[in-house]
C-alpha cells in the first residue's frame, strides 16, 4: 500500500539559547492508510513536535528548516496558509492529551464539533446539528442530545476525549494524529478510549499517527512503531519485532523499564502490627446553605487495614477512589470523621494538633510530585534539615545530618546548597525521600512514588531502601 503521509528527512529548529539546536533532526517516517503508527519516546524526545510540524502549528520561533512533509503526494511545507487551513481538520485531524484544556470552556460541545462542518462544508445549521449528534452517537457518548448542549466542564474526562475524537473524525480525515490522548485519563477509561480509536480507525480506514510514551499502549494498538530519542528516530519497525527483539540500546532500556506485573517473592511478615486502621471515614460536603441542596461525597468510607511491622502495603485505585484522602487522613493533614488510626497503640485520629505535631516524628509522608513538595525558595539541604530542627535538633547539626542523608540517597552532599529547581526530577525525588527519612519514622507513607512521565527512572529510585 502506498503511504499517505511521508516525513522525509524533516528537521525542526529551536530558537537560539535552548539546550539543543533542533527539536527534530532528519526524521523520516511513513504512514499508510488504515494503519496505526505509534511514535514512542520520553518527554522531550521530539515526538509531540513531530505532530505539530505535520500540522504546521509550531510555537513561535520554532521553524521547519529541512526536509519535506508529503501528504497525499503534496509537500505541506510548500503550501501557503490558506491551503494549509484546508488540510487541517479536513485532511489531517488531531486530538490532544488533555481534553479539558483542548476544548474551549465557554462554548458548548455541539457548537465546537459543529464548527468543523461550518469551516469545511456548506451544510445548513439543521444538517450540522444532525451530523454532530450522529457523531456523538458514533463515539458512544451516553446521552448525545445532552452532551450536545453540555459545556466541557460538565462532562467527565473520558466523555470529553470522546467529544474530541468526534470532532476530529467529523470530516472523515485521511490521517488522525493522536498526541498522547490517553495519558491524562484513568486506566479503565484509557482502555475504552483506545478501543474506540481502534474501532473507528478500522471502520473508516483512517491512518493514525499515535504519539505516546507508554509501551502498554503500543502493545495494544500499534501496527508499527517508531522510537524517538533526542529528536531522532532511533528505531522503527513492526510492533512485534520491535517489542520482541529491540535493536537499539535505548529501546531496550525503555522496554526494560516497564515493570512486569509479577508479585515479588513472598517473605515472612512480622506478626505484630505497627499500624491498624479501623473504620476510617471522611465525607465532603459541598455547596448548600443550611443543609439545603448539599452534595455529600464519601471520599473514604469505613476503611480498615492492618500494616505489619517492616511491611509494605500497596493501596491502588483510580483518581477519585479516595486513596489520597486516606493517606492524608493517616498523617492528619485531613481530619477523619470517624474511625481510629493506631500507630504503636496511640490513636492518631484522636490527638490534638499539638500532640500530632510531635507524633509526626513517627509517621512521614513522601508526596507524588517531588518538585511540588519542596519549597522552591529553600535550599535543598534546609528542606531536609527542617524536620530535624522542628523536633529539637540544633541547626548546624541538622544541616550536617542532611549532608549525610544526601550521600545515603545517592546525591552529592555539596548539593545541599542548591535550590530545588536546579535538580532533575529524579534527583528531587531523592531529596524528598531524604527529607522524609530524616526523622526516625517507624512508618512511612509513600504516595505514588514515581512521576508518570518517565519510566526509566523508576527502577533506579531509592524508594525501596528503608521504606
Amino acid at each position: 500500500m502506498s503511504p499517505i503521509l511521508v516525513l522525509d528527512d524533516v528537521s525542526v529548529k529551536l530558537p537560539a539559547g535552548g539546550d539543543r539546536s533542533h527539536a527534530m533532526a532528519h526524521v523520516s517516517l511513513s504512514l499508510a492508510a488504515n494503519e496505526i503508527l505509534c511514535v514512542v519516546g520520553e518527554s522531550g524526545s521530539g515526538k509531540s513536535m513531530t505532530a505539530n510540524a505535520i500540522m504546521r502549528l509550531l510555537p513561535g520561533g520554532v521553524t521547519i528548516d529541512g526536509g519535506r512533509i508529503l501528504f497525499e503526494g503534496r509537500d505541506l511545507c510548500g503550501l501557503d496558509e490558506a491551503q494549509m487551513r484546508k488540510v487541517r481538520g479536513a485532511g489531517i485531524a488531531m486530538i490532544f492529551q488533555e481534553p479539558m484544556t483542548a476544548l474551549n470552556p465557554l462554548r458548548s460541545i455541539g457548537d465546537q464539533i459543529g464548527e468543523m462542518f461550518e469551516l469545511h462544508s456548506d451544510l445548513s445549521a439543521a444538517e450540522i446539528k444532525a451530523r454532530t449528534l450522529a457523531l456523538l452517537e458514533e463515539v458512544r457518548i451516553p446521552d448525545p442530545a445532552l452532551a450536545f448542549k453540555a459545556y466541557p466542564h460538565e462532562l467527565s474526562g473520558g466523555q470529553r476525549q470522546r467529544a474530541m475524537i468526534a470532532m476530529a473524525l467529523a470530516l472523515d480525515p485521511k490521517v488522525l494524529i493522536a498526541d498522547e490522548p490517553t495519558t491524562a485519563l484513568d486506566v479503565t477509561t484509557q482502555a475504552q478510549i483506545l478501543k474506540l480509536i481502534r474501532d473507528l480507525q478500522r471502520r473508516k480506514g483512517t491512518a493514525v499517527l499515535f504519539i505516546t510514551h507508554d509501551f502498554g499502549v503500543v502493545a495494544e494498538i500499534a501496527d508499527r512503531v517508531a522510537v524517538m530519542s533526542k529528536g531522532e528516530v532511533v528505531e522503527a519497525g513492526e510492533t512485534a519485532s520491535v517489542l520482541g527483539n529491540p535493536q537499539h540500546a535505548y529501546t531496550r532500556q525503555l522496554i526494560a523499564a516497564v515493570p512486569p506485573l509479577k508479585a515479588p517473592p513472598p517473605r515472612a511478615l512480622s506478626e505484630e502490627p505497627i499500624m491498624t486502621i479501623a473504620h476510617v471515614s471522611k465525607t465532603y460536603r459541598t455547596g448548600g446553605f443550611l443543609g439545603r441542596g448539599q452534595r455529600v461525597t464519601h471520599a473514604v468510607k469505613d476503611v480498615s487495614l492492618v500494616l505489619p511491622r517492616g511491611a509494605t502495603l500497596g493501596i491502588v485505585g483510580e483518581s477519585g477512589s479516595g486513596k489520597s484522602t486516606l493517606a492524608r487522613c493517616l498523617v492528619r493533614l485531613i481530619d477523619p470523621e470517624s474511625g481510629e488510626i493506631r500507630l504503636n497503640g496511640i490513636d492518631l485520629a484522636s490527638l490534638s494538633r499539638e500532640e500530632m505535631r510531635s507524633a509526626t516524628r513517627d509517621i512521614q509522608m513522601v508526596f507524588q510530585d517531588p518538585f511540588a513538595s519542596l519549597n522552591p525558595r529553600r535550599k535543598a539541604g534546609e528542606a531536609v534539615a527542617q524536620g530535624l530542627i522542628v523536633h529539637g535538633m540544633a541547626r548546624p547539626e541538622a544541616l550536617a545530618r542532611a549532608k549525610e542523608l544526601f550521600g545515603l540517597v545517592g546525591l552529592d552532599p555539596a548539593a545541599t546548597e542548591r535550590y530545588p529547581h536546579e535538580f532533575s526530577g529524579g534527583q528531587r525525588q531523592r531529596i524528598a525521600s531524604a527529607s522524609a527519612s530524616a526523622l526516625p519514622a517507624r512508618w512511612r507513607w509513600s504516595r505514588r512514588y514515581w512521576s508518570p512521565t518517565s519510566r526509566s527512572r523508576r527502577s533506579t529510585s531509592p524508594c525501596r531502601r528503608r521504606c
Binding site: G60, R357, S358, I363, N375, P376, R377, A383, V390, S435
Partner: protein, 276 residues
C-alpha cells in the same frame, strides 16, 4: 544574577530605572541646589520659563520659584508614595495571609472588611479621613496607605490559596511546623514576588492620590507638593498655563518611572510571559 540580566534586557525597564534615578537625584539634590524655602517669595510673580536665568522654570502666581518647588516636590512625592506603599502592603499582606491560610470564618470576616473598603470609593474615604484627621503630611500619608490596601490583600490571599495546599506546605505540616512558621517562613516567601511587583502599582496610585488631594487643596499646604502647585496654577490657567503644566510633567515622569520599573521587575520574574 539572572534577574538583573533579564531586567536589563528590556529597554522600557531600563528607561524606567533611568527616570527613577533622575527623580531620586532631584530629591537628593534639592537642598543643595535650592537651599532656600521653596515656598518663600523668590521674585516677580509669573515669570515665563527660560526667560530669566535665575528662575529657569519661571515663577508661579505668588512669585515662588517653580524649579525649587519641583525639586523639593520630588522628595514629598517619593516620601508619601513610598511610606504609604509600605503601610498599604503591610496591611494587605497580613490580611491576605491570614484570610488565605485559615480560610473558613477568618477568611469570610477579613474578606467582608476588604470588600467594604473596595465598595467605598477610595478617594471618597480619603476625603473623609482627611476631613476628620486634618491634612498634615503624616495623616495624608497614613490615610493613603489605609485606602489602598485591599488589592494587595486580595492578591496575597489568592497566592496563599493556591500555595496552602501545595505539597511542600503539607510536607512542612507533616514535619510538625507551627502555623506561624508555615505562613511566614514557608508560604510568604513564595507569595511575595507578585505582591512586591504590585507594590509599584500601589506606589504609582499613591503618588497620584496625593497629587489629586493637593490639587483640591486638601493636602498639607506647608510642603512643596507638585499637586499644590498645579492647584495654584489653575487660577492663571488661561494665560500662564505653564504653572500647572510643569509639575504635571514631573508627576507623569515619576509615575511612569515607578510603573516601568515595576513592569520590568514583573517581566524579569516571569520570563515565560516575556518571551512570547
Amino acid at each position: 544574577m539572572d534577574l538583573v540580566k533579564l531586567y536589563f534586557r528590556s529597554p522600557p525597564a531600563v528607561i524606567g530605572l533611568v527616570l527613577l534615578i533622575l527623580v531620586l537625584a532631584m530629591a537628593a539634590s534639592a537642598d543643595i541646589l535650592y537651599p532656600r524655602d521653596p515656598l518663600a517669595l523668590a521674585g516677580r510673580p509669573l515669570i515665563w520659563p527660560f526667560s530669566n536665568p535665575r528662575f529657569l522654570l519661571g515663577t508661579d502666581n505668588s512669585g515662588r520659584d517653580i524649579a525649587a518647588q519641583i525639586f523639593h516636590g520630588a522628595r514629598i512625592s517619593l516620601l508619601i508614595g513610598g511610606v504609604a506603599t509600605v503601610i498599604s502592603i503591610m496591611i494587605g499582606i497580613t490580611v491576605g495571609a491570614f484570610a488565605g491560610y485559615y480560610g473558613s470564618w477568618v477568611d469570610t470576616a477579613l474578606m467582608r472588611v476588604t470588600e467594604a473598603f473596595q465598595t467605598l470609593p477610595n478617594f471618597l474615604l480619603l476625603l473623609v479621613l482627611v476631613a476628620v484627621f486634618g491634612s498634615t503630611i503624616t495623616t495624608v500619608t497614613v490615610a493613603i496607605g489605609i485606602v489602598s490596601w485591599p488589592a494587595s490583600a486580595r492578591l496575597t490571599r489568592a497566592e496563599f490559596l493556591s500555595l496552602r495546599n501545595r505539597e511542600f506546605v503539607q510536607a512542612g505540616r507533616t514535619l510538625g511546623l507551627k502555623d506561624i512558621r508555615l505562613i511566614f517562613g514557608e508560604i510568604l516567601p513564595n507569595a511575595l514576588p507578585p505582591v512586591i511587583v504590585y507594590a509599584s502599582v500601589v506606589m504609582a496610585i499613591a503618588i497620584l492620590l496625593e497629587s489629586a488631594l493637593a490639587f483640591l487643596k486638601l493636602s498639607d499646604p506647608n510642603v512643596a507638593s507638585w499637586g499644590n502647585l498645579i492647584g495654584a496654577g489653575r487660577d492663571v490657567l488661561r494665560v500662564q498655563w505653564y504653572v500647572s503644566a510643569i509639575p504635571g510633567i514631573a508627576i507623569l515622569v515619576t509615575v511612569l518611572a515607578v510603573s516601568l520599573v515595576g513592569q520590568g521587575l514583573n517581566d524579569a520574574l516571569n520570563p515565560r510571559l516575556k518571551s512570547r
